[in-house]
């Protein structure tokens, strides 16, 4: 600190108070922006939502219609992505936590981290070149794989963190009882980390449920209900919102807001549930 503090302390204290106040101001602004956005979604969404809207399929302008097919489509895509992405992500996470201290583990960890930051639209382009071009048409399968590719790195890293939190003494105890390594991991370590891994999985699902870009040219979207064909295009809430938002019709804009309310409710519920579970654990 400088000498002669007596003279400067007044100014120093002022600077400190101003900067502290600015930081608090930033926090207020960011919270207000969030509340404004959520509030506006609620306000616009509530006015055009009803049961018919939730179960009907899209209709031409002026005839109403709904987002039933988009809701089921999103659920099918999420299910597909989970079936592909969760096993791969969780086992890769176990590998990194239990065996991943060498150069190979470090490489996988680094690549996984950077994969998390790869734009989702690039994943869409990749799946398009890999699956859609050979198949020659858009499909639910391609959409599910695209979402799975986004889930895998997220699930891998959270699983690894959660497994690393399990105390070594638990592993040693099981090993001392004569259990082979795989029984130790599957029977002792995984159950101990299961709630954390489930949390990570749910967050990953919440994250990909809002993805639009990778679905534009994989799942593509559809105006009909899913009929069980994985090799056909499929609707999703996000693509539906996008298509309605950029359309010129007020009626469709209103439907976009209502669909957004449904999507946001789903995502917020998952986030709050995760918050609640992790809080109980701590």
């Amino acid at each position: 600190m400088k000498r002669g503090e007596g003279k400067k302390s007044g100014r120093r204290r002022l600077v400190s108070a101003v900067m502290t106040g600015l930081a608090a101001f930033c926090a207020v602004v960011v919270s207000v922006v969030l509340i404004l956005i959520l509030g506006y979604i609620l306000m616009r969404g509530v006015t055009s939502i009803n049961l018919q809207f939730l179960i009907d399929r899209p209709r031409p302008v002026g005839e109403g219609g709904g987002i039933g097919n988009a809701i089921t489509g999103t659920l099918v895509l999420l299910g597909l992505a989970s079936v592909i992405g969760l096993p791969v992500g969780i086992s890769a996470g176990i590998y990194l936590a239990e065996y991943g201290d060498g150069w190979f583990g470090n490489t996988v960890r680094f690549v996984t981290d950077t994969l998390t930051g790869v734009p989702s639209i690039v994943v869409g382009v990749f799946v398009y070149t890999l699956i859609v071009i050979p198949q020659k048409h858009f499909s639910a399968l391609a959409g599910g794989i695209a979402l799975a590719l986004i889930m895998i790195p997220i699930v891998t890293r959270t699983t690894e963190e959660m497994i690393r939190l399990v105390p070594t003494s638990l592993r040693e105890g099981a090993l001392a009882l004569g259990a082979p390594q795989w029984r130790v991991t599957m029977g002792v370590v995984l159950p101990a980390a299961s709630s954390g891994i489930a949390t990570g999985a749910m967050l990953a699902i919440a994250r990909v449920s809002g993805e639009t870009a990778p679905l534009l040219f994989t799942a593509f979207g559809s105006r009909f209900f899913f009929e069980g064909y994985m090799d056909q295009p499929i609707a999703s809430l996000t693509v539906q919102i996008y298509n309605y938002a950029i359309s010129p019709y007020d009626e469709w804009h209103a439907q976009a807001w209502a669909a957004t309310l449904v999507l946001m409710t789903m995502i917020l519920l998952i986030n709050i549930a995760v918050r609640f579970f992790t809080r109980k654990k701590v």
Binding site: V15, C26, L34, L38, S91, A92, I121, T185, G210, Y242
Partner: protein, 337 residues
């Protein structure tokens, strides 16, 4: 030291002998080793699959963009014309749009993110910090397309009617703020991006600040530093991590697609005005990929995707290294953002 001790095995040696026996017994029991080997192989395969996916991404996109790579070479990056009808493709307008909108986003988001993170770590009592941190995380949970919808119907009219006329009145002599006002363009895209990357930068800066040892703060306070001076010491300690957080935000801004596509105007032109419509790398892929007729058109778009992939990969890798340099050694700091 004495010779009598050499005959008596030390506890460690005895344990080693026991461990050897135990390993032998495990090796002889069929369930132990084969089970372990198979288990480990499955896990290894999953981890290797991630490497395979990334390699496949690069290979597949390189192959599919081959036509455009051969046709235009390096000029693809410097060409200003994007004309699918004439078959001429240059990516410069998209690179310009991406860079400028991302810079606007950083200019707005970085001060706010730093402020929020400082407030959360250095100032707020835990009872306030926890719910506030949750609010900021929620901001990150809002999907891109929802930001886009909000951008079209709330932010764009707000800018068109109130903010942009004001800017033009006072700063209109700058080329940045000249030209017709539409509410749709670079500035709108940049602001939407700023809102979207604020929670990401905040979360990482928060981790980085938390990783600075408490002793640093105590030392500064003991020397008579004010609250802000103490915070500056902490910031100096965390500088490279903060740089990493900002670069991470930049990576996210570069790759963000839907929200930007919905508010930036989608016109492949380079204009000095921030009010003018523009186009980004991610947006052109989103808009034109399904309509790309002809192999050259498609391969030009895939090449743009490849550029986006390589750039974000490098940016993110750099950011991770910087963040690691600060948080390494402290537990539970890696987050899946």
């Amino acid at each position: 030291m004495s010779s009598s001790q050499q005959n008596v095995p030390s506890p460690a040696a005895a344990y080693g002998a026991l461990a050897r026996v135990w390993r032998w017994r495990r090796a002889l029991s069929a369930t132990g080793t084969t089970g372990d080997a198979v288990f480990r192989l499955i896990l290894l395969a999953s981890a290797a699959l991630i490497l395979l996916i990334v390699s496949l991404m690069i290979a597949s996109m390189a192959v599919n963009s081959g036509l455009s790579l051969r046709e235009f070479g390096f000029h693809f990056l410097t060409g200003r014309e994007w004309n699918p009808v004439m078959g001429r493709f240059g990516a410069l307008p998209f690179i310009y749009g991406t860079v400028v909108s991302s810079l606007i986003a950083l200019l707005i988001a970085v001060p706010f993110s730093l402020g929020v993170a400082i407030f959360l770590v250095e100032q707020a009592p835990p009872r306030l910090a926890r719910p506030l941190a949750f609010l900021v995380e929620l901001l990150a949970a809002i999907p891109s397309v929802v930001y886009g919808l909000w951008g079209i119907f709330v932010l764009a009219p707000l800018l068109r009617l109130h903010v942009e006329p004001l800017l033009q009145n006072y700063l209109g002599w700058l080329p940045l703020f000249s030209g017709p006002i539409t509410g749709i363009g670079l500035l709108t895209g940049g602001i939407i991006l700023a809102i979207m990357i604020t929670p990401i930068i905040t979360a990482v800066v928060r981790d980085v600040l938390s990783a600075v040892p408490t002793s640093q703060r105590e030392a500064a306070l003991a020397l008579g530093a004010t609250r802000w001076e103490t915070t500056r010491v902490v910031l100096a300690n965390a500088a490279s991590g903060i740089a990493g957080a900002i670069i991470l935000g930049l990576g996210r801004a570069i790759g963000e697609t839907m929200a930007v596509t919905m508010v930036i105007g989608n016109r492949p032109e380079i204009s000095a005005s921030l009010f003018a419509p523009s186009y980004t790398i991610a947006s052109v892929i989103a808009n034109e990929f399904t309509e790309a007729t002809g192999d050259l058109y498609l391969s030009a778009l895939v090449e743009i995707g490849l550029i986006l992939f390589v750039v974000t990969f490098i940016v993110n890798g750099l950011a991770k290294l910087l963040v690691w340099s600060v948080t390494r050694g402290t537990s539970g700091t890696a987050r899946a953002t």
